[in-house]
C-alpha cells in the first residue's frame, strides 16, 4: 500500500514562493483561488526576532472534514484516491462551499470565475491543452470548489506507466511544488514505507501535523522553526 505524504521544513524555507509559482503553472489555478499559499509572520521580541514562512495547501487528511461534510449533505463530490490524496469531482460539486467552511486549514477554494494565469494575455502553458485531453482535476469549471490534488495527474501518469514506485523520485511523477524548492525544504513520498526518505526525515526531525486538535490526521508534516505555530 502506498500512502503519499509531504514534509515541509520551515527551518529551511526562506519564503521564495517558488513552490507557489510552480503549482500555479502546473495546475493553472485562478489567482483568486490559489492551491498553494504562503503564510508569513514574525516571532520573538527585538532584537531576537525572526520571520516564519509556512507554505500551505491541502493537507490531504486521512479523515478529511471536507469529504465528511460533502458526503453528509449527499453530494459526494470529494474522494480519496488510491494514494490517499483528497480529490474533488468538479462534475458532482454543487459549489455550496460547505467543505470550505469545515476544513480546519481553509483549503478548498470556491472558484468564482475561470481566469487565465496571466490575466488579459490569454491561456499559457498547460492552459492551452484542450479540456477533453486534460486530467479530471484540470477540467475546471466556475462556481465549483478546487484545491491541491497532490498533482493527481502525475500520479495517474505513474500508474499508466507502471512506475508507481517512482512517485516522489522522478520529476514526471512528483508534484511540481516539491521539485522546485531551491533549499530542499520540501519532500514527497510514501510514508507507508519505513525506509523511504520522507519516513526517515519525519522521524529524524520530529515533524508534526498542523492543527491536530481537529483530529483529521493530515498527510502533510511540518518541521517547525522555533516559535512557529502548529
Amino acid at each position: 500500500m502506498t500512502k503519499l505524504a509531504r514534509l515541509i521544513d520551515t527551518k529551511r524555507c526562506m519564503g521564495c514562493r517558488s513552490c507557489i509559482a510552480a503549482c500555479a503553472v502546473e495546475n493553472h489555478f485562478t489567482p483568486d483561488a490559489p492551491w498553494n499559499v504562503m503564510i508569513e509572520y514574525e516571532v520573538g521580541t527585538y532584537p531576537a526576532v525572526k520571520k516564519i514562512f509556512t507554505t500551505m495547501g491541502c493537507m490531504h487528511c486521512e479523515k478529511p472534514a471536507c469529504k465528511a461534510t460533502c458526503d453528509y449533505i449527499g453530494v459526494k463530490a470529494i474522494s480519496k484516491n488510491e494514494f490517499g490524496a483528497v480529490v474533488i469531482d468538479y462534475d458532482k460539486c454543487i459549489g455550496c462551499g460547505y467543505c470550505a467552511s469545515t476544513c480546519p486549514y481553509g483549503t478548498p477554494q470556491l472558484n468564482k470565475a475561470l481566469k487565465s494565469l496571466v490575466p488579459g494575455k490569454g491561456p499559457i502553458g498547460e492552459e492551452t491543452i484542450p479540456l477533453s485531453l486534460r486530467h479530471a482535476t484540470h477540467r475546471k469549471k466556475k462556481h465549483v470548489v478546487e484545491k491541491c490534488s497532490f498533482c493527481a495527474h502525475k500520479m495517474a501518469k505513474a500508474v499508466a506507466d507502471g512506475k508507481v514506485d517512482r512517485i516522489g523520485k522522478d520529476q514526471e511523477y512528483t508534484p511540481a511544488c516539491d521539485l522546485v524548492c531551491p533549499v530542499q525544504a520540501r519532500l514527497f513520498g510514501d510514508i507507508d514505507d519505513p525506509d523511504s526518505a520522507i519516513s526517515k526525515r519525519i522521524k529524524e526531525t520530529n515533524a508534526v501535523q498542523l492543527r491536530k486538535q481537529f483530529g483529521t490526521s493530515p498527510q502533510v508534516y511540518y518541521v517547525l522553526e522555533q516559535g512557529a505555530k502548529s
Binding site: D32, P34, V37, I39, E40, Y41, E42, V43, I52, T54, M56, G57, E62, K63, A65, C66, A68, T69, Y72, I73, G74, V75, K76, A77, K92, I94, C96, G97, Y98, A100, S101, T102, C103, P104, Y105, G106, T107, Q109, I191, D192, Q209, L210, R211, K212, Q213, F214, G215, T216, S217, K229, S230
Partner: protein
C-alpha cells in the same frame, strides 16, 4: 408461465443491480444540499444565526484574522458588507471533540504511524 415469470424477474434484477451500485456512489438525483449555501440568507446562516441565535461576531472576526493564522484562505478578499472572516477555531469551539455539538467531520485523531 411461472418459470417464464421467474426468468423475467431474474433478468430485471440483474440489469438493475449495476445501476443500483452506481447510484450508491453517484450524487443523489436531488442532492440534499440543493438549497444549501453559504450565502447570508442560505441554510448555513439560518441555522447558525436564527436557530442557534448566534451573533455575527460569535463566528466572524471583525478585525480580520491574525497574520499567524494557519489558514489557506487567510488573505481571501471578503464579500461586500461581510462582518469579517471566520476562523475554524470558532467552529471547533462548538463542534470539536467532546463538545456539545460535536460533528462527525472533526473526528478523533488516528494514531500516528
Amino acid at each position: 408461465m411461472k418459470s417464464l415469470f421467474i426468468v423475467a424477474l431474474t433478468g430485471i434484477a440483474l440489469a438493475v443491480s449495476p445501476l443500483a451500485l452506481q447510484a450508491a456512489d453517484a450524487p443523489s438525483a436531488k442532492p440534499v444540499a440543493a438549497k444549501k449555501s453559504m450565502a447570508e440568507k442560505g441554510r448555513y446562516h439560518r441555522l447558525h444565526g436564527k436557530k442557534e441565535k448566534l451573533d455575527c461576531e460569535d463566528c466572524h472576526e471583525k478585525g480580520g484574522l491574525p497574520d499567524d493564522t494557519l489558514f489557506v484562505r487567510l488573505h481571501e478578499p471578503l464579500a461586500k458588507n461581510s462582518p469579517g472572516p471566520v476562523s475554524s477555531d470558532a467552529c471547533h469551539e462548538c463542534h470539536g471533540k467532546k463538545q456539545k455539538k460535536q460533528v462527525t467531520w472533526y473526528a478523533p485523531k488516528l494514531p500516528r504511524k
